[in-house]
């Protein structure tokens, strides 16, 4: 289908493309091991987050949490903020995004273009300051509504009802599904659906391992596991460092012509690990993985060119996924 009543109706239904050059070579006569990329950058605002944004807003409307003209408050500069801004515009809501003032210029421009209002928290205060600013804003505006993607079941449901069925339809022989672990919505929703339908399917998480600066600020007792996370849905979980994520992101565009963000490189890294294990074991494998977004928003990091050391340095201290 290629005709839709509105942009919101065009959410999902993304292409699944084979990666013949990145798929490992198998010995003659051995069963095939193939990699498949689900191009989520083909969604209306260019990321997989359009699916949960649309489902969370619809669910909030149906449950009476959101009313026409309401203000949505979203503390993020990422893809969810951009997706929610688009949905809010088309459904008639005002959206306010809270973010530290040191986020990249393209993020701010994108959000403003989609109609979001932005409240900056001072960069110098880091995450503590952002939290304090967010608290203050919420206290001043108790009527503003937040959707809280980390604990909102409609986030996972978006993938249970759309991403999962699309994958099964396009690749009935699927043996592995690999996606990034952030809010955990993609893996929980898609994973649950596929586990119900496909015997023996493996659900694999690729988790970004950032530079030291990011963890330096974290205290173990103040850690966080999203409310949506259910470890029983996963079979394996890989931690992918910045260097491997950048290397794979570059291979995606150099070898297969897919220009993606760094989280997709991390996902490919885990997908290749399971694909190579299948080759070693002489098992057939159809490994589907997610391209979460395109590379456009990350060009200003400079991490697409130069040496891997340069790229690693450029991304040090950044939440690149």
């Amino acid at each position: 289908m290629a005709r839709y009543e509105s942009l919101l109706d065009a959410c999902g239904g993304t292409p699944l493309v084979g990666l013949p050059r990145l798929s490992p070579t198998v010995p003659e006569g051995a069963p095939a091991v193939r990699l498949w990329a689900k191009l989520e950058d083909r969604n209306p605002t260019g990321s997989i987050k359009d699916r949960p944004a649309l489902f969370m807003v619809r669910e909030a409307e149906e449950s009476g949490h959101l009313h026409p003209g309401d203000t949505i408050l979203e503390p993020t500069s990422g893809n969810t903020g951009i997706a929610l801004a688009m949905v809010a515009k088309l459904r008639g809501y005002r959206i306010v995004c809270v973010m530290p003032e040191n986020v990249s210029a393209e993020r701010v421009q994108l959000l403003r273009m989609y109609g979001a209002e932005i409240i900056f928290s001072p960069a110098a205060g880091g995450s503590n300051q952002a939290v304090a600013t967010a608290k203050q804003i919420a206290a001043e505006h108790p009527d503003w509504k937040m959707l809280f993607q980390y604990g909102n079941p409609a986030n996972a449901r978006a993938h249970y009802e759309t991403t999962g069925p699309e994958l099964l339809h396009d690749l009935p022989t699927i043996t592995h599904f690999v996606a990034g672990l952030g809010t955990t919505g993609t893996l929980m929703g898609t994973g649950r659906f596929l586990k119900e339908k496909v015997d023996g399917i493996q659900i694999i998480a690729a988790e970004p391992r950032y530079g030291e600066l990011v963890y330096g600020l974290r205290n173990i007792d103040e850690g966080y596991v999203p409310e949506l996370y259910d470890a029983t849905v996963l079979d394996r979980r890989f931690s992918v460092g910045t260097r491997d994520a950048v290397l794979r992101t570059r291979q995606l565009v150099e070898v297969e012509g897919i220009f993606a963000g760094f989280s997709s490189g991390a996902i490919l890294h885990a997908a290749l690990a399971v694909a190579h294990e299948a080759v070693k074991a002489g098992r057939r494998a159809d490994v589907a993985f997610v391209i979460a977004d395109g590379g456009w928003k990350y060009l200003s990091t400079g991490a697409y060119g130069g040496t891997l050391n340069d790229a690693e340095e450029a991304l040090e201290g950044q939440l690149w996924a």
Binding site: S127, T183, I220, G223
Partner: protein
């Protein structure tokens, strides 16, 4: 049998500031005991009083989460690389701000 262990900034007070330490053990549990003998108090930050892995600690053997490899009973071999990290959500800043607003 030498296993390389990467220590997060927050736990380096136990290792004299060392980022990477060496340990030994045939399982993760044995490795942590060995590390605790060399760096007193280390174990208490990773293991709960009930004997399980702390909820907000992630440990990876060769980049794979040990919770899917048998947790504390995960088997280790010479030359393995173990990484310890605090649990951080993707877009952690957004989460922290959102959680603050919701009072969680």
């Amino acid at each position: 049998m030498a296993i390389e262990v990467r220590v997060p900034t927050i736990l380096r007070s136990y290792t004299g500031g060392a980022k990477i330490v060496e340990g030994a053990g045939e399982t993760l549990s044995a490795l942590i005991d060995d590390l605790d003998a060399k760096h007193n108090g280390f174990k208490g930050r990773l293991i709960t009083p009930e004997g399980g892995l702390h909820k907000f600690v992630n440990i990876y053997v060769n980049d794979e989460d040990v919770r899917f490899l048998g947790a504390l009973e995960a088997k280790l071999s010479d030359g393995d690389s173990v990484t310890i990290l605090p649990a951080v959500a993707g877009g952690a800043l957004g989460f922290a701000a959102a959680a603050a607003i919701l009072g969680r």
